[in-house]
């Protein structure tokens, strides 16, 4: 039996929400991974630069 308009609408809404959740999840994981890579790559020189940046912000 063909699904009603309401059922099709609900299915579509659920599908859209799921897609959105998936995208947000992927973005979050990507940000997490990138942040980890940046932390891992930080050398003492980079930390000095961050200190200088903070000083610039505080000025």
């Amino acid at each position: 039996m063909a699904r009603s308009l309401k059922e099709r609408y609900e299915t579509r809404r659920v599908q859209l929400v799921q897609e959105r959740v998936k995208k947000v999840d992927q973005q979050l994981l990507l940000e997490q991974k990138t942040a980890d890579l940046i932390v891992e790559a930080m050398s003492e020189e980079d930390l000095d630069k961050v200190t200088a940046i903070i000083q610039k912000l505080e000025r």
Binding site: L29, K33, I38, V39, A41, D46, L47, A52, I53, E58
Partner: protein, 310 residues
């Protein structure tokens, strides 16, 4: 930058300071780094502060171009001609005034505007502030400033600017005295730049982004495996290089984006190759990285080489 009276910027800077001070207690970052390094991902205050600074630097650097593209002239001569004092006139005043002058010139031919402020000018300014055309122009400039105040480069992955609401900051900038506004822009463009931090991660992170984009279709969500650069002398390393954070699905190890060997996964192979070939690890790393960029290295085979017994 904090010295200038821009509320949302000051609030953001104070938040950033407070977060850093929690770990450093006002001391040097290098001394507290071991503690801070444990904060993984986007919770790491150093990542957050650098992303915040990067967004400000990039945004402020684009302001002169945004104003120019919108036909706004903030040169001293023009301001003086229009009777605007940079010490108390805001960018909004300049926009409104110049928009009104433009409209007046269009209506009356190309006669220059009167050099002093008259009561009519004040009326005009008020009119433009409430005029839909003037409002639309200001709204458009705020939207462009908001967009410009976003991180880029290796920090471009982060969609949200930490500590500050870009739209609120753009709005505050428009309403700040022009003198403060100009000085903030100049300060942001001077000294150390966030774009210079962890620059050697650019290739790996850009590549990671590419790999992620490929995976955003209808396939099951996967996260690319860890991509780190080969070790460089003096760089702190963590043992988490190849460990996906909780909840993450490790991605297939092939064809890493950016075509660069990851430190954790390829470190044993690089070490082995350097011993076998009689060159130091740094040289071996550089050579392998270069060859990987050219697509001459099978990264899977390279990783396997490190795990094979001699």
């Amino acid at each position: 930058m904090k010295a200038f009276n821009i509320a949302s910027l000051n609030k953001g800077i104070e938040q950033a300071q407070a977060e850093i001070n929690k770990y450093t207690a006002g001391g040097p970052i290098t001394a507290a780094w071991t503690k801070m390094k444990k904060l993984v991902g986007i919770d790491n205050p150093i990542v957050k502060v650098t992303t915040f600074a990067d967004a400000l630097e990039r945004g402020f650097a684009q302001i002169p171009r945004i104003l120019k593209n919108n036909g706004i002239d903030t040169s001293k001569k023009t301001l003086a001609d229009q009777g605007l004092n940079p010490e108390n006139a805001t960018l909004r005043d300049v926009i409104v005034k110049q928009l009104m002058n433009k409209n007046a010139n269009e209506a009356q031919g190309d006669r220059p505007p009167p050099p002093t402020i008259s009561s009519k000018d004040i009326e005009d300014t008020h009119k433009a502030n409430t005029d839909p055309k003037g409002q639309a122009k200001i709204k458009a400039i705020i939207a462009q400033l908001t967009k410009a105040l976003s991180p880029g480069g290796i920090f471009g992955i982060f969609k949200k600017v930490p500590y500050v609401d870009s739209a609120a900051l753009a709005n505050d900038l428009i309403n700040a005295p022009l003198q403060d506004f100009v000085q903030v822009v100049q300060t942001a463009g001077s000294g150390a730049k966030a774009a210079e931090v962890a620059t050697d991660m650019k290739g790996a992170i850009t590549g990671q982004g590419g790999a992620e984009t490929k995976g955003t279709g209808k396939e099951a969500p996967t996260v690319p495996g860890s991509q780190t650069q080969p070790s460089a002398p003096g760089k702190p390393t963590t043992a988490t290089a190849d460990t996906a954070p909780t909840g993450q699905v490790p991605a297939p190890a092939d064809k890493r984006g950016g075509g660069e060997p990851a430190k954790g996964r390829h470190a044993p192979a690089i070490s082995k190759i350097s011993k076998e070939s009689g060159v130091d690890e740094e040289t071996a790393t550089k050579l392998i990285r270069h060859m990987a960029k050219l697509g001459l290295v099978d990264l899977d085979k390279l990783a396997q080489h490190g795990t094979q017994a001699k």
